[in-house]
């Protein structure tokens, strides 16, 4: 047990700080600023695409999880954008690096890294929720093209995206997990329609995408026909953990404490209400537990010889526990504000732009999305504890 950093990593932290002091003012803030220019600067200095080979447009450093964490921590502390975090960078690039052809890598990775090519993910379908593998969008080979028909849903950046990486059914006769292929689709192809999907926050955080006879060049398949399910799962695993940054949760908790110090009812600050304070401390204890759990996961990645037999289980639970806890944390903020907690839109008297109640609802969406809590519990029980799978049901 040693929570200190090596001299090399301490020096790296100093280097990141110097970069931020010198260049931080150039970073885009929210929608303002030039994201592509910033991203290029970051790659040049090795603070984005750090571990991607140079021949594909990355910085080419050898993988080092602690460096990645130091970058995240320092950019977070300085409140400077750490560059692109979208599904292209986080999901497609690792997939192509692992199973893409050399041509696919050279064509798609460099512009994705700089943000000049924006991606969306086409996995979910209306009829295939928890049972993702039952997807129906079909791709039929017609000469040199796949002809795609069907519908995707929960596509978060479909309106901005240049390309989509999608799962489609290419082998209708095969068992359902073996009939799926992984396809790259240019969003400008005729026959694609994108419809914004308004959710309970009354914003369109997601979209529906409709395909009608959309022709996709044959070579845009990643991996072999029928391998799509396996390929998608290589990366899905990363997504399950990515919602779970405990540093972000701790920052949110500190903001909640500030809020509870500011809100007064009957002349008393919310933080001075012992019942609300007890709820706050309960949540803080759970945040502490998940922070320590995250340290453990990180440490196991850094030290491949960690010898920690239960670390797999410690990873499986993150999505479930984090999204539920975050929903509760945001809900406590709403309760601490009382009537002010449910103000929304641009209402007079609105606190913090309504982010607390919006996040409270949004995190209910995240409890559901990317595998509902029910699916997470199945995974924990089956993969983590070795309990038997649901028995096959008898056909009537």
């Amino acid at each position: 047990m040693d929570l200190s950093l090596s001299p090399r990593h301490q020096a790296f932290r100093e280097e990141v700080r110097r970069f931020l002091a010198e260049h931080g003012h150039k970073a885009p803030r929210g929608h303002r600023g030039d994201h592509v220019a910033w991203q290029k600067l970051l790659i040049e200095h090795g603070y984005a695409a750090r571990f991607i080979p140079r021949e594909y447009g990355g910085y080419g450093a050898p993988p080092d999880i602690l460096e990645a964490r130091i970058i995240a921590e320092e950019f977070g502390r300085a409140q400077v954008s750490p560059g692109l975090q979208g599904q292209g960078v986080s999901m497609l690039v690792p997939t192509l690096l692992e199973v893409g052809t050399e041509e696919q890598k050279r064509r798609f990775i460099p512009p994705t890294l700089t943000g000049e090519m924006i991606w969306c993910q086409g996995y979910s379908e209306p009829q295939a929720g928890s049972d993702l593998a039952s997807l129906r969008t079909s791709a039929v080979l017609d000469g040199d093209h796949w002809v795609v028909n069907g519908q995707k849903i929960w596509t978060s950046t479909a309106r901005e995206a240049d390309w989509m990486f999608a799962l489609v059914r290419t082998e209708p006769e095969a068992p359902k997990h073996e009939g799926i292929s992984f396809l790259l689709i240019d969003m400008r192809t005729p026959g694609i329609e994108v419809r914004p999907l308004v959710d309970m926050t009354m914003e369109a955080n997601f979209n529906e995408v409709f395909f009608t006879d959309v022709r996709v060049p044959k070579e845009n398949i990643v991996g072999r026909r029928g391998e799509g399910w396996r390929i998608a799962n290589l990366v899905l695993r990363h997504e399950r953990g990515s919602l779970a940054d405990p540093n972000a949760m701790m920052a949110r908790l500190l903001a909640l404490i500030d809020l509870m110090k500011a809100e007064r009812v009957d002349g008393r600050r919310a933080i001075d209400d012992p019942v609300l304070l007890d709820r706050l401390m309960r949540i803080e204890g759970r945040v502490q537990a998940l922070r320590a759990n995250d340290l453990r996961l990180l440490s196991a990645k850094v030290n491949p010889d960690h010898g920690d037999p239960r670390v797999g289980l410690a990873g499986l639970l993150v999505k479930l526990e984090t999204t539920e806890l975050r929903h509760e944390l945001e809900g406590l903020a709403v309760d601490a504000m009382g009537e002010f907690g449910i103000l929304y839109d641009r209402s007079p008297e609105l606190r913090a732009g309504g982010t607390w109640v919006r996040s409270w609802m949004y995190y209910l969406g995240l409890i559901i999305g990317g595998g509902t809590s029910q699916i997470q519990k199945n995974i924990i029980a089956e993969r983590g504890l070795g309990l038997p799978r649901e028995p096959r049901t008898a056909r009537p």
Partner: protein, 359 residues
């Protein structure tokens, strides 16, 4: 001894439910957030069914019924997520006039309320939970100050509780009155702020802390009724969805996890129904229990409703989170009811005081 609804009460609920299914289907619930939507659009229909005059004495053209009947109406309104005034306009206002109004005030105002021609907002939030810079003072018979979270805000007049425990009638067009509408997550009901600057107002001569208490308690029971109805809708929607939506080749309602989520919702919600009846009946007939029952009911139903709204949304999966089914309107209605006229923590604190267990 008969602890249950009368055939008339059942019929009333059914006919109100039928009316709302027509007058307030999902499209209308959705429209309510548009600036062009008239927040009192459903009032004439409700008045025709007697909903506006439930608590107005028969002598003044109403039905002369009790808080229980109001709670039953609230249940149906919550169930439909109906975009209509009710808790202030047709419960707290007529109750206040009946309890504290002068005979002249009653004669002049109650019949119009019962007919749906006079919509009244209620400014009581500071009596429940005082905010530092809010509250209404009386100076030489005129009102000054701020009243926040005024219920049924799109009104012709307001009943305003002043800091000293008085009750005042304020016309919407009175001088020195500024009206600032709020936006909340629930777009089906209107709240806002009244800013008063030496605003002329007519006192209700019978006002007293005890009368204010009764009005607030009735409001709490009615909001609990609204939550019960909204939660019942969400439960039924979840059960229907679980019966029809298939995953892994079977209806999701045959999976034990989903089944048990539905069972937990039903098991926690169904006792709220009897609790609502009892607490509402206590307002009408058991004065020594009335305040305690109202506080406990408001807190308990809010907790059950909040958990149920989350679970019902989860049963719907991603569809529950989108606007496509509109389920979130009920979720938000429940969240709104939770915070108005006393949060659960606050209601339990009051219950403890009423029980003599806290200062």
């Amino acid at each position: 001894m008969d602890f249950g609804l009368s055939p008339e009460q059942r019929m009333f609920q059914e006919s109100l439910g039928r009316h709302l299914a027509e007058a307030s289907p999902l499209e209308v619930v959705r429209q309510a957030r548009q600036p062009s939507f008239d927040p009192n659009r459903l009032v004439p229909g409700l008045a025709a069914l007697g909903v506006a005059g439930l608590l107005v004495p028969e002598a003044h053209g109403g039905l002369g019924l009790g808080v229980l009947d109001a709670a039953l109406a609230a249940e149906m309104l919550g169930r439909a997520a109906a975009p209509a005034p009710f808790v202030a306009a047709f419960v707290m206002a007529p109750l206040a006039l009946a309890l504290a109004g002068s005979p002249e005030q009653q004669a002049a105002l109650l019949p119009k309320i019962a007919e749906g021609r006079l919509r009244v907002g209620a400014a009581f939030a500071e009596q429940v939970a005082a905010r530092a810079d809010a509250g209404v003072e009386v100076v030489q018979g005129r009102l000054s100050g701020r009243a926040l979270f005024v219920l049924d805000f799109a009104a012709d007049a307001y009943l305003v509780a002043s800091r000293d425990g008085g009750l005042w009638w304020v016309e919407a067009g009175a001088s020195g009155l500024e009206r600032i509408p709020f936006s909340t997550i629930d777009t089906t009901r209107r709240v806002g702020e009244l800013r008063l600057a030496a605003t002329p107002a007519e006192p209700l001569p019978g006002a007293s802390p005890a009368v204010l208490r009764r009005i607030i308690d009735a409001g709490r029971v009615v909001l609990a009724g609204d939550t019960l109805g909204a939660a019942q809708h969400m439960l039924e929607a979840a059960v229907d969805y679980a019966k029809t939506r298939e995953q892994f080749g079977r209806p999701i309602g045959s999976f034990q996890a989903v089944k048990h989520m539905c069972a937990e919702m039903a098991a926690s919600l169904e006792p709220c129904r009897a609790f609502l009846w009892y607490a509402a009946h206590a307002q009408d007939a058991l004065p020594e229990e009335a305040a305690l029952q109202a506080a406990h009911l408001k807190a308990h139903v809010a907790e059950v409703g909040t958990r149920l709204a989350k679970t019902a949304t989860e049963v719907h999966g991603g569809m529950g989170f989108t606007d496509l089914l509109g389920l979130h309107h009920w979720f938000k209605r429940i969240a709104w009811n939770r915070q108005m006229l006393g949060s659960p923590e606050q209601c339990r604190r009051e219950a403890a005081r009423l029980r003599g267990l806290a200062a």
